[in-house]
């Protein structure tokens, strides 16, 4: 391990913007993909008249 302290870790040897900018945006985008997919699934299940099997009922 090459980090002496938390602030040293966060500073990323002067490349904090580039490193954390990459990881943060990637994390947000992956989370957004999962969230949008969950919302699409919920919307579908909430549609009136035609019900879709819920994941619980598959097992």
């Amino acid at each position: 391990m090459q980090w002496g302290s938390v602030s040293e870790f966060l500073a990323m040897g002067g490349y904090a913007f580039h490193v954390w900018g990459s990881y943060l945006v990637t994390g947000v985008l992956l989370a957004a993909e999962i969230w949008l997919l969950a919302r699409r699934s919920r919307t579908l299940r909430a549609m009136p008249g035609r019900s879709v099997r819920t994941p619980e009922r598959d097992r």
């Binding site: 391990m1 090459q2 980090w3 870790f9 990323m12 040897g13 002067g14 490349y15 913007f17 580039h18 490193v19 900018g21 990459s22 990881y23 945006v25 990637t26 985008l29 992956l30 993909e33 999962i34 997919l37 699409r40 699934s41 579908l44 549609m47 035609r50 019900s51 879709v52 099997r53 994941p55 598959d58 097992r59």
Partner: protein, 238 residues
């Protein structure tokens, strides 16, 4: 066991439901391990300093962006040739994740390029062909969404996906065929990797994590697509 029975949406739907948690857990575990190796085990690069740590997401995302396209085109072709509904649905399920991976590869590459090359973007063959890949994904999704009849949308978008496959070898070999600012492959089957072994381990674990993530999220999406399309069918009703 007859594996072909899972080629229908009706039988694949519950199977996918069972597989998703497995791949999701693997993705989270491998992602955690990969990030730990990447940030706490792998040493500082003697040339690039800490900026190189971006490769732990850049390389997996870039590999997935190309691989997902090939798999997407494969399912699109299968849907076109055999007229199987599930194949086309698989292709549609993969496209948004592929586009996302392409965007992540471009974004992280840009943030890596600035401190390393001194520029956010250059129009070299590797970067340009990867940008074209993003446009291909967007074009595929737009075309599929623009046609109301799902079966016609499947066929038209499949043709686009197949034409676009030509871009994949161009991306992969661009660093060999042209004199690009982007460096050549860091990992290849024919020679020893050009990086420290802990760096390589971290990167490969992250590659596996991205694989598992992509599989889990694509299976979840194909389930939603199946449910959307088969809404009128008896088996999805109560």
């Amino acid at each position: 066991m007859n594996i072909w029975k899972y080629s229908s949406p009706q039988t694949f739907y519950p199977l996918a439901g069972k597989m998703i948690p497995v791949f999701a857990v693997l993705a989270a575990a491998l992602g955690g391990a990969g990030l730990y190796i990447g940030f706490f085990v792998a040493p500082t690069d003697f040339q690039q300093g800490e900026a190189y740590r971006i490769i732990f997401i850049h390389v997996p995302a870039a590999w997935m962006s190309m691989f997902i396209y090939v798999v997407m085109a494969f399912w699109a072709a299968a849907g076109l040739i055999f007229n199987t509904r599930l194949s086309s649905m698989m292709a549609h399920a993969l496209a948004p994740t592929g586009a996302l991976m392409t965007f992540i590869a471009l974004w992280t590459g840009s943030l890596w390029g600035k401190p390393t090359w001194g520029t956010w973007w250059v129009w070299d063959a590797r970067l340009t062909s990867e940008l074209i890949l993003l446009f291909l994904y967007i074009g595929y999704m737009s075309l599929a969404a623009a046609i109301d009849d799902p079966r016609r949308a499947d066929k038209a978008s499949a043709v686009l996906a197949l034409v676009g496959v030509i871009n994949i070898p161009i991306i992969y070999f661009s660093v060999k065929w042209w004199n690009t600012l982007h460096q050549g492959a860091s990992v290849s089957l024919t020679r020893a990797p050009s990086m420290a072994s802990t760096m390589l381990t971290g990167m490969l674990v992250m590659v596996l994590a991205f694989w598992m993530y992509s599989i889990a999220v694509s299976l979840a999406r194909v389930r939603v697509i199946i449910a959307e399309r088969e809404r009128g069918a008896a088996w999805v009703r109560d």
